[in-house]
Protein backbone atom coordinates (compact mmCIF):
# COMPACT_ATOMS: atom_id res chain seq x y z
CA UNK A 1 0.00 0.00 0.00
CA UNK A 2 1.34 3.37 -1.07
CA UNK A 3 0.47 6.81 0.20
CA UNK A 4 2.00 9.94 -1.30
CA UNK A 5 4.61 7.79 -2.96
CA UNK A 6 5.83 6.45 0.36
CA UNK A 7 5.49 2.98 1.76
CA UNK A 8 3.12 2.49 4.66
CA UNK A 9 6.05 0.87 6.42
CA UNK A 10 8.06 4.06 6.57
CA UNK A 11 10.28 5.23 9.39
CA UNK A 12 7.78 8.03 10.09
CA UNK A 13 4.90 5.66 10.54
CA UNK A 14 6.89 3.21 12.59
CA UNK A 15 8.05 5.99 14.92
CA UNK A 16 4.55 7.41 15.21
CA UNK A 17 3.28 3.97 16.27
CA UNK A 18 6.06 3.48 18.80
CA UNK A 19 5.58 6.98 20.19
CA UNK A 20 1.87 6.34 20.61
CA UNK A 21 2.51 3.07 22.40
CA UNK A 22 4.89 4.68 24.88
CA UNK A 23 2.48 7.52 25.58
CA UNK A 24 -0.32 4.99 26.08
CA UNK A 25 1.92 3.14 28.50
CA UNK A 26 2.28 6.39 30.47
CA UNK A 27 -1.42 7.16 30.31
CA UNK A 28 -3.00 3.78 31.05
CA UNK A 29 -1.90 3.47 34.69
CA UNK A 30 -3.20 6.98 35.29
CA UNK A 31 -6.50 6.00 33.72
CA UNK A 32 -6.56 2.82 35.83
CA UNK A 33 -5.97 4.84 38.96
CA UNK A 34 -8.71 7.32 38.15
CA UNK A 35 -11.11 4.54 37.15
CA UNK A 36 -10.79 2.93 40.56
CA UNK A 37 -11.21 6.04 42.68
CA UNK A 38 -14.16 5.53 45.07
CA UNK A 39 -15.46 9.04 44.49
CA UNK A 40 -18.45 8.59 46.82
CA UNK A 41 -16.37 8.08 49.93
CA UNK A 42 -13.36 10.09 48.77
CA UNK A 43 -13.97 13.12 50.95
CA UNK A 44 -14.43 11.09 54.12
CA UNK A 45 -11.33 8.99 53.45
CA UNK A 46 -9.07 11.93 52.73
CA UNK A 47 -10.16 13.97 55.75
CA UNK A 48 -8.63 11.39 58.00
CA UNK A 49 -5.96 12.58 60.39
CA UNK A 50 -3.29 10.28 58.94
CA UNK A 51 -3.71 11.45 55.35
CA UNK A 52 -3.59 15.12 56.30
CA UNK A 53 -0.52 14.54 58.46
CA UNK A 54 1.26 12.63 55.70
CA UNK A 55 0.36 15.28 53.14
CA UNK A 56 1.65 18.04 55.39
CA UNK A 57 4.91 16.16 56.02
CA UNK A 58 5.38 15.56 52.29
CA UNK A 59 4.77 19.19 51.38
CA UNK A 60 7.08 20.52 54.07
CA UNK A 61 9.82 17.94 53.45
CA UNK A 62 9.79 18.45 49.67
CA UNK A 63 9.78 22.24 50.04
CA UNK A 64 12.60 22.22 52.56
CA UNK A 65 14.59 19.83 50.38
CA UNK A 66 14.07 22.19 47.41
CA UNK A 67 15.17 25.23 49.38
CA UNK A 68 18.26 23.45 50.69
CA UNK A 69 19.05 22.17 47.20
CA UNK A 70 18.80 25.69 45.78
CA UNK A 71 20.83 27.29 48.55
CA UNK A 72 23.72 24.88 48.11
CA UNK A 73 23.07 23.76 44.54
CA UNK A 74 23.34 27.20 42.95
CA UNK A 75 26.86 27.82 44.27
CA UNK A 76 27.86 24.30 43.24
CA UNK A 77 26.45 24.78 39.73
CA UNK A 78 28.17 28.18 39.54
CA UNK A 79 31.53 26.69 40.51
CA UNK A 80 31.11 23.84 38.02
CA UNK A 81 30.18 26.22 35.24
CA UNK A 82 32.40 29.23 35.86
CA UNK A 83 35.58 28.00 37.46
CA UNK A 84 38.21 25.82 35.92
CA UNK A 85 40.27 23.69 38.26
CA UNK A 86 41.75 20.25 38.56
CA UNK A 87 39.29 17.58 39.55
CA UNK A 88 36.32 19.40 38.09
CA UNK A 89 35.21 16.35 36.13
CA UNK A 90 35.39 14.27 39.30
CA UNK A 91 33.26 16.87 41.01
CA UNK A 92 30.70 16.71 38.22
CA UNK A 93 30.59 12.92 38.56
CA UNK A 94 29.99 13.30 42.30
CA UNK A 95 26.92 15.40 41.56
CA UNK A 96 25.49 12.48 39.63
CA UNK A 97 26.32 9.98 42.36
CA UNK A 98 22.99 10.20 44.24
CA UNK A 99 21.19 9.63 40.93
CA UNK A 100 22.83 6.25 40.40
CA UNK A 101 22.18 5.18 44.02
CA UNK A 102 19.05 3.06 44.21
CA UNK A 103 17.04 5.13 46.75
CA UNK A 104 17.00 2.32 49.34
CA UNK A 105 20.75 2.04 49.04
CA UNK A 106 20.90 5.81 49.43
CA UNK A 107 19.00 5.45 52.69
CA UNK A 108 21.34 2.75 53.93
CA UNK A 109 24.30 4.91 52.96
CA UNK A 110 22.84 7.87 54.82
CA UNK A 111 22.48 5.67 57.88
CA UNK A 112 26.05 4.54 57.47
CA UNK A 113 27.16 8.16 57.39
CA UNK A 114 24.86 9.92 59.85
CA UNK A 115 23.54 7.00 61.93
CA UNK A 116 24.48 6.51 65.57
CA UNK A 117 27.20 4.10 64.57
CA UNK A 118 27.84 5.86 61.24
CA UNK A 119 30.90 7.78 60.10
CA UNK A 120 29.75 11.02 61.67
CA UNK A 121 27.75 9.34 64.42
CA UNK A 122 30.29 10.24 67.09
CA UNK A 123 30.51 13.86 66.05
CA UNK A 124 26.72 14.19 65.89
CA UNK A 125 26.28 12.53 69.26
CA UNK A 126 28.86 14.92 70.76
CA UNK A 127 26.84 17.82 69.33
CA UNK A 128 23.70 16.30 70.78
CA UNK A 129 22.16 15.73 67.35
CA UNK A 130 20.37 12.51 66.52
CA UNK A 131 19.31 12.30 62.89
CA UNK A 132 18.00 8.83 61.97
CA UNK A 133 14.24 8.33 62.22
CA UNK A 134 13.52 12.05 62.64
CA UNK A 135 11.75 14.49 60.35
CA UNK A 136 15.14 16.08 59.63
CA UNK A 137 16.24 12.69 58.29
CA UNK A 138 13.23 12.67 55.95
CA UNK A 139 14.25 16.10 54.66
CA UNK A 140 17.88 15.00 54.23
CA UNK A 141 16.81 11.85 52.40
CA UNK A 142 14.64 13.91 50.02
CA UNK A 143 17.48 16.39 49.50
CA UNK A 144 19.95 13.60 48.79
CA UNK A 145 17.89 12.15 45.96
CA UNK A 146 16.57 15.41 44.48
CA UNK A 147 19.38 17.97 44.68
CA UNK A 148 21.27 16.62 41.64
CA UNK A 149 18.30 17.53 39.44
CA UNK A 150 18.60 21.14 40.49
CA UNK A 151 22.37 21.27 40.11
CA UNK A 152 22.15 19.84 36.59
CA UNK A 153 19.38 22.25 35.56
CA UNK A 154 21.24 25.24 37.01
CA UNK A 155 24.55 24.30 35.45
CA UNK A 156 22.92 23.99 32.03
CA UNK A 157 21.19 27.33 32.57
CA UNK A 158 24.40 29.08 33.63
CA UNK A 159 26.29 27.60 30.70
CA UNK A 160 23.80 29.01 28.22
CA UNK A 161 23.52 32.43 29.90
CA UNK A 162 25.28 35.25 28.03
CA UNK A 163 28.22 36.21 30.23
CA UNK A 164 28.78 39.34 28.22
CA UNK A 165 25.67 40.79 29.88
CA UNK A 166 27.52 40.50 33.18
CA UNK A 167 30.50 42.28 31.64
CA UNK A 168 28.24 45.05 30.39
CA UNK A 169 26.86 45.43 33.92
CA UNK A 170 30.40 45.65 35.29
CA UNK A 171 31.30 48.50 32.94
CA UNK A 172 28.18 50.30 34.18
CA UNK A 173 29.58 50.22 37.70
CA UNK A 174 27.98 47.07 39.13
CA UNK A 175 30.07 45.17 41.65
CA UNK A 176 30.03 41.34 41.75
CA UNK A 177 27.18 40.96 44.26
CA UNK A 178 25.00 43.31 42.25
CA UNK A 179 25.89 41.61 38.98
CA UNK A 180 24.90 38.28 40.53
CA UNK A 181 21.55 39.47 41.86
CA UNK A 182 20.48 41.76 39.02
CA UNK A 183 21.91 40.04 35.95
CA UNK A 184 23.03 36.44 36.55
CA UNK A 185 20.06 35.26 38.65
CA UNK A 186 17.41 36.84 36.41
CA UNK A 187 19.06 35.38 33.32
CA UNK A 188 18.88 31.84 34.74
CA UNK A 189 15.45 32.28 36.34
CA UNK A 190 13.84 29.84 33.93
CA UNK A 191 16.40 27.20 34.80
CA UNK A 192 15.85 27.85 38.48
CA UNK A 193 12.09 27.42 38.11
CA UNK A 194 12.38 24.33 35.93
CA UNK A 195 15.01 22.82 38.22
CA UNK A 196 12.94 23.57 41.33
CA UNK A 197 9.89 21.92 39.77
CA UNK A 198 11.81 18.72 39.02
CA UNK A 199 13.53 18.77 42.39
CA UNK A 200 10.31 19.31 44.26
CA UNK A 201 8.49 16.57 42.38
CA UNK A 202 11.33 14.14 42.95
CA UNK A 203 11.51 15.04 46.64
CA UNK A 204 7.75 14.73 47.13
CA UNK A 205 7.79 11.26 45.64
CA UNK A 206 10.77 9.99 47.60
CA UNK A 207 10.20 6.61 49.25
CA UNK A 208 13.20 4.31 49.52
CA UNK A 209 15.76 6.57 51.15
CA UNK A 210 13.14 8.05 53.44
CA UNK A 211 11.80 4.77 54.80
CA UNK A 212 15.33 3.46 55.33
CA UNK A 213 16.90 6.54 56.88
CA UNK A 214 13.89 8.20 58.53
CA UNK A 215 11.62 5.24 59.14
CA UNK A 216 7.86 5.12 58.87
CA UNK A 217 6.47 7.00 61.87
CA UNK A 218 3.05 8.55 61.33
CA UNK A 219 3.05 12.23 62.15
CA UNK A 220 6.84 12.38 62.21
CA UNK A 221 8.39 10.79 59.14
CA UNK A 222 5.51 9.14 57.34
CA UNK A 223 5.23 11.15 54.14
CA UNK A 224 2.61 10.45 51.48
CA UNK A 225 4.50 7.73 49.58
CA UNK A 226 5.08 5.90 52.86
CA UNK A 227 1.46 6.28 53.91
CA UNK A 228 0.33 5.01 50.51
CA UNK A 229 2.58 1.99 50.78
CA UNK A 230 1.24 1.20 54.22
CA UNK A 231 -2.39 1.67 53.17
CA UNK A 232 -1.83 -0.64 50.22
CA UNK A 233 -1.60 -3.64 52.59
CA UNK A 234 -4.93 -2.99 54.28
CA UNK A 235 -6.99 -0.39 52.46
CA UNK A 236 -6.69 -0.43 48.66
CA UNK A 237 -9.28 2.35 48.24
CA UNK A 238 -7.40 4.58 50.61
CA UNK A 239 -4.13 3.89 48.80
CA UNK A 240 -5.65 4.80 45.48
CA UNK A 241 -7.19 7.98 46.83
CA UNK A 242 -3.95 9.10 48.40
CA UNK A 243 -2.07 8.29 45.20
CA UNK A 244 -4.43 10.47 43.19
CA UNK A 245 -4.13 13.23 45.77
CA UNK A 246 -0.30 13.14 45.71
CA UNK A 247 -0.35 13.05 41.94
CA UNK A 248 -2.73 16.01 41.86
CA UNK A 249 -0.61 18.06 44.25
CA UNK A 250 2.55 17.30 42.27
CA UNK A 251 0.82 18.27 39.05
CA UNK A 252 -0.35 21.53 40.57
CA UNK A 253 3.17 22.23 41.79
CA UNK A 254 4.54 21.56 38.31
CA UNK A 255 1.90 23.83 36.79
CA UNK A 256 2.57 26.61 39.26
CA UNK A 257 6.27 26.39 38.47
CA UNK A 258 5.23 25.65 34.93
CA UNK A 259 6.11 26.49 31.37
CA UNK A 260 9.83 25.97 30.80
CA UNK A 261 9.84 22.48 32.26
CA UNK A 262 9.46 20.60 29.04
CA UNK A 263 11.00 23.23 26.82
CA UNK A 264 14.74 23.21 26.35
Amino acid sequence: MKRGGRSFFSIENAFALQATLLLAFFLLPLAGLLARVPWATAWEELRGERVLEAMRLSLVAASLASVISLAFGFPLAWVLCRRSFRGKELMRALVLLPMVFPPVVGGVALLAAFGTRGLLGGVLAYLGVRLPFTFAAAVLAATFVSAPFLVLALEAGLASADRRLEEAAETLGARPARVLSTITLPSVRHSIVAGLALTWARAAGEFGATITFAGNFPGRTQTMPLAIYEALQTDMNGAILMSVLLLGVSLVALLVLRRRIVQP
Binding site: L165, E167, A169, T171, L172, G173, A174, R178
Partner: protein, 356 residues
Protein backbone atom coordinates in the same frame (compact mmCIF):
# COMPACT_ATOMS: atom_id res chain seq x y z
CA UNK B 1 41.51 63.74 31.10
CA UNK B 2 43.85 62.24 28.56
CA UNK B 3 43.89 58.54 27.92
CA UNK B 4 47.04 56.58 27.29
CA UNK B 5 46.52 53.00 26.24
CA UNK B 6 49.45 50.68 25.69
CA UNK B 7 47.77 47.33 25.36
CA UNK B 8 49.76 44.14 25.01
CA UNK B 9 48.01 40.83 25.32
CA UNK B 10 47.52 37.51 23.59
CA UNK B 11 44.20 35.87 22.88
CA UNK B 12 44.83 32.41 21.47
CA UNK B 13 47.26 32.92 18.62
CA UNK B 14 46.26 36.55 18.21
CA UNK B 15 48.67 39.18 19.52
CA UNK B 16 47.55 42.67 20.34
CA UNK B 17 50.28 45.27 20.80
CA UNK B 18 48.61 48.62 20.33
CA UNK B 19 49.61 51.95 21.80
CA UNK B 20 47.79 55.23 21.37
CA UNK B 21 46.95 58.41 23.22
CA UNK B 22 43.83 60.50 23.08
CA UNK B 23 43.21 63.95 24.51
CA UNK B 24 40.24 65.04 26.60
CA UNK B 25 37.38 66.14 24.39
CA UNK B 26 38.88 64.47 21.36
CA UNK B 27 37.11 61.83 19.28
CA UNK B 28 39.62 59.22 18.18
CA UNK B 29 38.49 56.70 15.62
CA UNK B 30 40.07 53.26 15.90
CA UNK B 31 39.78 52.15 12.33
CA UNK B 32 40.76 48.77 11.00
CA UNK B 33 39.61 45.79 8.99
CA UNK B 34 37.62 42.99 10.57
CA UNK B 35 39.79 40.83 12.78
CA UNK B 36 42.32 43.58 13.43
CA UNK B 37 41.69 43.38 17.19
CA UNK B 38 39.49 46.44 17.64
CA UNK B 39 36.95 44.84 19.95
CA UNK B 40 39.69 43.15 21.98
CA UNK B 41 41.33 46.55 22.41
CA UNK B 42 38.04 48.02 23.64
CA UNK B 43 37.58 45.12 26.06
CA UNK B 44 41.09 45.60 27.39
CA UNK B 45 40.58 49.32 27.98
CA UNK B 46 37.26 48.62 29.72
CA UNK B 47 39.01 46.12 31.98
CA UNK B 48 37.34 43.02 30.58
CA UNK B 49 40.53 41.49 29.14
CA UNK B 50 43.64 41.69 31.31
CA UNK B 51 46.86 43.14 29.89
CA UNK B 52 50.01 41.08 29.90
CA UNK B 53 52.21 44.13 29.53
CA UNK B 54 51.81 47.84 28.98
CA UNK B 55 49.50 50.21 30.80
CA UNK B 56 46.26 52.11 30.69
CA UNK B 57 46.40 55.56 32.23
CA UNK B 58 43.53 58.02 32.45
CA UNK B 59 44.68 61.50 33.48
CA UNK B 60 46.84 60.91 36.55
CA UNK B 61 45.20 57.60 37.42
CA UNK B 62 46.83 54.31 36.47
CA UNK B 63 43.93 52.01 35.62
CA UNK B 64 46.12 49.05 34.79
CA UNK B 65 49.84 48.36 34.81
CA UNK B 66 50.78 44.69 35.14
CA UNK B 67 54.39 45.60 35.90
CA UNK B 68 53.24 47.23 39.16
CA UNK B 69 50.45 44.76 39.78
CA UNK B 70 47.82 47.46 39.26
CA UNK B 71 44.50 46.43 37.77
CA UNK B 72 41.30 48.30 38.52
CA UNK B 73 38.18 46.19 37.95
CA UNK B 74 35.71 47.43 35.30
CA UNK B 75 33.26 49.09 37.74
CA UNK B 76 36.02 51.42 38.92
CA UNK B 77 37.20 52.54 35.48
CA UNK B 78 34.23 54.71 34.56
CA UNK B 79 34.30 53.69 30.92
CA UNK B 80 30.98 54.12 29.15
CA UNK B 81 30.95 51.25 26.68
CA UNK B 82 28.56 50.76 23.79
CA UNK B 83 29.21 47.17 22.79
CA UNK B 84 29.00 46.05 19.20
CA UNK B 85 26.21 43.63 20.17
CA UNK B 86 24.75 46.27 22.49
CA UNK B 87 24.14 43.73 25.29
CA UNK B 88 21.02 45.43 26.57
CA UNK B 89 19.59 43.59 29.58
CA UNK B 90 16.69 41.60 28.12
CA UNK B 91 14.79 41.33 31.41
CA UNK B 92 14.77 45.08 32.06
CA UNK B 93 12.74 47.80 30.38
CA UNK B 94 14.46 50.58 28.45
CA UNK B 95 14.07 52.87 31.45
CA UNK B 96 15.59 50.30 33.84
CA UNK B 97 18.41 49.51 31.43
CA UNK B 98 19.36 53.19 31.39
CA UNK B 99 18.90 53.55 35.16
CA UNK B 100 21.13 50.52 35.77
CA UNK B 101 24.36 52.55 35.68
CA UNK B 102 23.29 55.29 38.12
CA UNK B 103 21.82 52.63 40.45
CA UNK B 104 25.08 50.69 40.35
CA UNK B 105 27.01 53.86 41.12
CA UNK B 106 25.04 54.27 44.31
CA UNK B 107 22.28 56.68 43.28
CA UNK B 108 18.90 56.24 44.93
CA UNK B 109 16.06 54.68 42.95
CA UNK B 110 14.28 58.00 42.42
CA UNK B 111 17.38 59.86 41.31
CA UNK B 112 18.48 57.02 39.03
CA UNK B 113 15.05 57.13 37.42
CA UNK B 114 15.31 60.87 36.92
CA UNK B 115 18.77 60.58 35.33
CA UNK B 116 17.52 57.75 33.12
CA UNK B 117 14.48 59.78 32.04
CA UNK B 118 16.74 62.66 31.07
CA UNK B 119 19.01 60.50 28.88
CA UNK B 120 16.10 58.63 27.39
CA UNK B 121 14.66 61.98 26.31
CA UNK B 122 17.97 63.29 24.99
CA UNK B 123 18.36 60.24 22.80
CA UNK B 124 14.76 60.50 21.63
CA UNK B 125 13.50 57.17 22.91
CA UNK B 126 11.12 58.58 25.55
CA UNK B 127 8.16 56.98 23.80
CA UNK B 128 9.80 53.54 24.19
CA UNK B 129 10.83 53.92 27.84
CA UNK B 130 8.56 51.11 29.04
CA UNK B 131 9.43 48.74 26.20
CA UNK B 132 11.72 45.74 26.56
CA UNK B 133 14.83 45.37 24.39
CA UNK B 134 13.42 42.48 22.34
CA UNK B 135 10.75 44.76 20.88
CA UNK B 136 13.11 47.59 19.85
CA UNK B 137 14.20 48.33 16.29
CA UNK B 138 17.91 48.38 15.51
CA UNK B 139 18.13 52.16 15.68
CA UNK B 140 16.17 52.34 18.93
CA UNK B 141 18.29 49.63 20.56
CA UNK B 142 21.43 51.52 19.53
CA UNK B 143 20.13 54.70 21.13
CA UNK B 144 19.23 52.85 24.33
CA UNK B 145 22.75 51.40 24.51
CA UNK B 146 24.16 54.90 24.07
CA UNK B 147 21.82 56.34 26.71
CA UNK B 148 22.72 53.52 29.12
CA UNK B 149 26.45 54.16 28.70
CA UNK B 150 26.08 57.94 29.11
CA UNK B 151 23.80 57.67 32.15
CA UNK B 152 26.46 55.72 34.05
CA UNK B 153 28.44 58.96 34.36
CA UNK B 154 31.52 57.76 32.48
CA UNK B 155 34.78 59.65 32.16
CA UNK B 156 35.57 58.03 28.82
CA UNK B 157 33.33 56.76 26.02
CA UNK B 158 34.13 53.56 24.13
CA UNK B 159 31.81 53.07 21.18
CA UNK B 160 32.28 49.77 19.34
CA UNK B 161 30.78 49.98 15.84
CA UNK B 162 27.89 52.21 16.91
CA UNK B 163 26.50 52.40 13.37
CA UNK B 164 27.01 48.80 12.23
CA UNK B 165 24.11 46.83 10.77
CA UNK B 166 21.57 49.65 10.77
CA UNK B 167 19.33 50.52 7.85
CA UNK B 168 19.91 53.78 6.01
CA UNK B 169 17.22 55.70 7.87
CA UNK B 170 18.50 54.54 11.27
CA UNK B 171 22.11 55.35 10.35
CA UNK B 172 21.03 58.91 9.65
CA UNK B 173 19.19 59.42 12.94
CA UNK B 174 21.78 57.61 15.06
CA UNK B 175 24.60 59.55 13.37
CA UNK B 176 22.88 62.84 14.17
CA UNK B 177 22.45 61.88 17.84
CA UNK B 178 25.94 60.47 17.99
CA UNK B 179 27.40 63.70 16.67
CA UNK B 180 25.48 65.73 19.25
CA UNK B 181 26.51 63.32 22.01
CA UNK B 182 30.17 63.38 21.06
CA UNK B 183 30.14 67.18 20.86
CA UNK B 184 28.74 67.58 24.38
CA UNK B 185 30.91 64.95 26.06
CA UNK B 186 34.05 66.37 27.63
CA UNK B 187 36.12 63.22 28.08
CA UNK B 188 38.02 61.06 25.65
CA UNK B 189 35.83 59.44 23.01
CA UNK B 190 36.99 56.29 21.25
CA UNK B 191 34.97 55.33 18.21
CA UNK B 192 35.70 51.86 16.86
CA UNK B 193 34.74 51.17 13.28
CA UNK B 194 35.73 49.19 10.23
CA UNK B 195 34.11 51.73 7.95
CA UNK B 196 36.38 54.60 6.89
CA UNK B 197 33.45 56.86 6.06
CA UNK B 198 32.23 56.72 9.67
CA UNK B 199 35.68 57.48 10.98
CA UNK B 200 36.15 60.38 8.59
CA UNK B 201 32.70 61.77 9.38
CA UNK B 202 32.82 61.60 13.15
CA UNK B 203 36.42 61.61 14.34
CA UNK B 204 38.95 64.34 15.02
CA UNK B 205 41.81 61.91 14.62
CA UNK B 206 42.29 58.40 13.25
CA UNK B 207 44.31 55.53 14.63
CA UNK B 208 44.58 52.67 12.17
CA UNK B 209 44.69 49.21 13.69
CA UNK B 210 45.89 46.30 11.55
CA UNK B 211 46.72 42.80 12.75
CA UNK B 212 46.87 43.93 16.37
CA UNK B 213 49.08 46.98 15.83
CA UNK B 214 48.48 50.68 15.39
CA UNK B 215 50.06 51.34 11.98
CA UNK B 216 49.21 54.99 11.55
CA UNK B 217 47.66 57.87 13.46
CA UNK B 218 46.81 61.35 12.33
CA UNK B 219 44.12 63.79 11.32
CA UNK B 220 41.81 62.42 8.62
CA UNK B 221 43.31 64.78 6.00
CA UNK B 222 46.89 63.70 6.76
CA UNK B 223 46.03 60.04 6.71
CA UNK B 224 44.13 60.36 3.44
CA UNK B 225 46.97 62.22 1.79
CA UNK B 226 49.80 60.01 2.98
CA UNK B 227 48.61 56.49 3.75
CA UNK B 228 51.24 54.22 5.28
CA UNK B 229 49.75 50.82 4.50
CA UNK B 230 47.96 49.21 1.64
CA UNK B 231 44.78 48.96 3.74
CA UNK B 232 44.75 52.69 4.44
CA UNK B 233 45.61 53.45 0.82
CA UNK B 234 42.77 51.30 -0.41
CA UNK B 235 40.14 52.99 1.71
CA UNK B 236 41.28 56.46 0.76
CA UNK B 237 41.36 55.24 -2.83
CA UNK B 238 45.09 55.43 -3.57
CA UNK B 239 47.56 52.92 -4.97
CA UNK B 240 50.43 52.39 -2.58
CA UNK B 241 53.86 50.87 -3.09
CA UNK B 242 56.44 50.51 -0.36
CA UNK B 243 60.08 50.53 -1.47
CA UNK B 244 63.56 51.98 -1.20
CA UNK B 245 64.72 55.23 -2.82
CA UNK B 246 67.42 55.28 -5.45
CA UNK B 247 68.09 58.93 -6.23
CA UNK B 248 68.87 60.22 -9.69
CA UNK B 249 69.21 64.00 -9.46
CA UNK B 250 65.85 65.52 -8.52
CA UNK B 251 64.17 62.37 -9.74
CA UNK B 252 64.20 58.99 -8.10
CA UNK B 253 63.27 55.36 -8.53
CA UNK B 254 61.34 53.64 -5.79
CA UNK B 255 62.51 50.06 -5.89
CA UNK B 256 61.14 46.96 -4.27
CA UNK B 257 61.75 43.31 -4.90
CA UNK B 258 59.19 43.17 -7.70
CA UNK B 259 60.30 46.18 -9.76
CA UNK B 260 60.55 49.93 -9.63
CA UNK B 261 58.50 53.06 -10.09
CA UNK B 262 59.87 56.36 -11.39
CA UNK B 263 58.96 59.53 -9.48
CA UNK B 264 59.59 63.01 -10.81
CA UNK B 265 60.09 64.53 -7.35
CA UNK B 266 61.53 63.02 -4.25
CA UNK B 267 62.73 64.69 -1.09
CA UNK B 268 63.84 61.56 0.69
CA UNK B 269 67.53 60.56 0.77
CA UNK B 270 69.07 57.71 -1.17
CA UNK B 271 68.34 54.35 0.47
CA UNK B 272 65.38 55.61 2.51
CA UNK B 273 62.34 53.38 3.07
CA UNK B 274 59.41 55.19 1.48
CA UNK B 275 55.84 55.00 0.34
CA UNK B 276 54.91 55.91 -3.21
CA UNK B 277 51.30 56.65 -4.09
CA UNK B 278 49.59 57.18 -7.38
CA UNK B 279 45.94 58.02 -7.86
CA UNK B 280 43.94 55.48 -9.89
CA UNK B 281 42.69 58.32 -12.13
CA UNK B 282 46.28 59.04 -13.20
CA UNK B 283 46.78 55.55 -14.57
CA UNK B 284 46.01 54.96 -18.23
CA UNK B 285 44.90 51.55 -19.45
CA UNK B 286 45.65 50.27 -22.95
CA UNK B 287 45.76 46.97 -24.81
CA UNK B 288 49.02 47.72 -26.66
CA UNK B 289 52.28 48.86 -25.14
CA UNK B 290 51.87 52.64 -25.02
CA UNK B 291 54.33 54.79 -26.92
CA UNK B 292 55.38 58.32 -25.97
CA UNK B 293 56.43 59.86 -22.72
CA UNK B 294 55.10 57.97 -19.70
CA UNK B 295 57.99 56.72 -17.58
CA UNK B 296 56.05 54.03 -15.77
CA UNK B 297 54.70 51.18 -17.88
CA UNK B 298 53.51 47.99 -16.24
CA UNK B 299 51.95 44.92 -17.75
CA UNK B 300 49.21 42.89 -16.03
CA UNK B 301 45.93 41.12 -16.20
CA UNK B 302 42.51 42.51 -15.25
CA UNK B 303 41.47 40.96 -11.94
CA UNK B 304 38.31 42.88 -11.07
CA UNK B 305 35.98 45.44 -12.58
CA UNK B 306 33.83 47.63 -10.31
CA UNK B 307 31.33 49.95 -11.90
CA UNK B 308 30.01 52.77 -9.73
CA UNK B 309 28.49 56.20 -10.38
CA UNK B 310 30.14 57.49 -13.53
CA UNK B 311 33.44 55.67 -13.24
CA UNK B 312 34.93 52.21 -13.49
CA UNK B 313 37.57 50.91 -11.14
CA UNK B 314 39.78 48.21 -12.57
CA UNK B 315 41.91 46.03 -10.37
CA UNK B 316 44.94 44.79 -12.28
CA UNK B 317 47.08 41.87 -11.17
CA UNK B 318 50.51 43.24 -11.95
CA UNK B 319 53.70 43.93 -10.10
CA UNK B 320 52.67 45.87 -8.10
CA UNK B 321 48.91 45.20 -8.14
CA UNK B 322 47.25 48.50 -9.07
CA UNK B 323 43.84 50.06 -9.39
CA UNK B 324 43.06 52.22 -12.39
CA UNK B 325 40.00 54.39 -12.81
CA UNK B 326 38.61 54.76 -16.32
CA UNK B 327 35.40 55.99 -17.91
CA UNK B 328 32.54 53.64 -18.85
CA UNK B 329 33.21 54.59 -22.50
CA UNK B 330 36.81 53.46 -22.21
CA UNK B 331 35.66 50.20 -20.65
CA UNK B 332 33.42 49.33 -23.62
CA UNK B 333 35.95 50.61 -26.17
CA UNK B 334 38.73 48.44 -24.76
CA UNK B 335 36.36 45.46 -24.30
CA UNK B 336 37.94 44.71 -20.95
CA UNK B 337 36.96 41.60 -19.05
CA UNK B 338 38.50 39.73 -16.16
CA UNK B 339 41.66 38.10 -17.45
CA UNK B 340 42.28 40.59 -20.27
CA UNK B 341 45.96 41.47 -20.65
CA UNK B 342 46.53 45.19 -20.35
CA UNK B 343 49.29 47.77 -20.11
CA UNK B 344 49.16 50.36 -17.38
CA UNK B 345 51.04 53.61 -17.71
CA UNK B 346 51.44 56.77 -15.64
CA UNK B 347 53.72 59.78 -15.56
CA UNK B 348 56.56 60.09 -13.10
CA UNK B 349 55.02 63.45 -12.08
CA UNK B 350 51.91 61.65 -10.78
CA UNK B 351 53.88 59.65 -8.22
CA UNK B 352 54.11 61.07 -4.73
CA UNK B 353 56.91 59.81 -2.50
CA UNK B 354 57.11 60.21 1.29
CA UNK B 355 58.83 58.59 4.22
CA UNK B 356 57.08 55.56 5.71
Amino acid sequence: MNLLADVRLRAGSFRLAARFEAAAGETLALLGPNGAGKSTLVRAIAGLAPLEEGEIVLGEAVLERPRDGVRLPPPERRMGVVFQDLLLFPHLSVRDNVAYGPRSRGRGAGEARRIAAEWVERLEIGHRASAFPASLSGGEARRVALARALASEPETLLLDEPLASLDVEAVRSVTRLLRATLASFGGVKILVTHRPVEALALADRLAILEAGEIVQTGRPAEVSRRPLTRYVASFVGLNLVRGVVRRDGPQADVRWEGGEIRAARCEEPDGADVMATVHPRSIAVSLERPGGSPRNVIRGRVGSIDVSAGSVRIGVDARPPLFAEITPEALSELRLAEGTEVWLSFKAAEVEVYAG
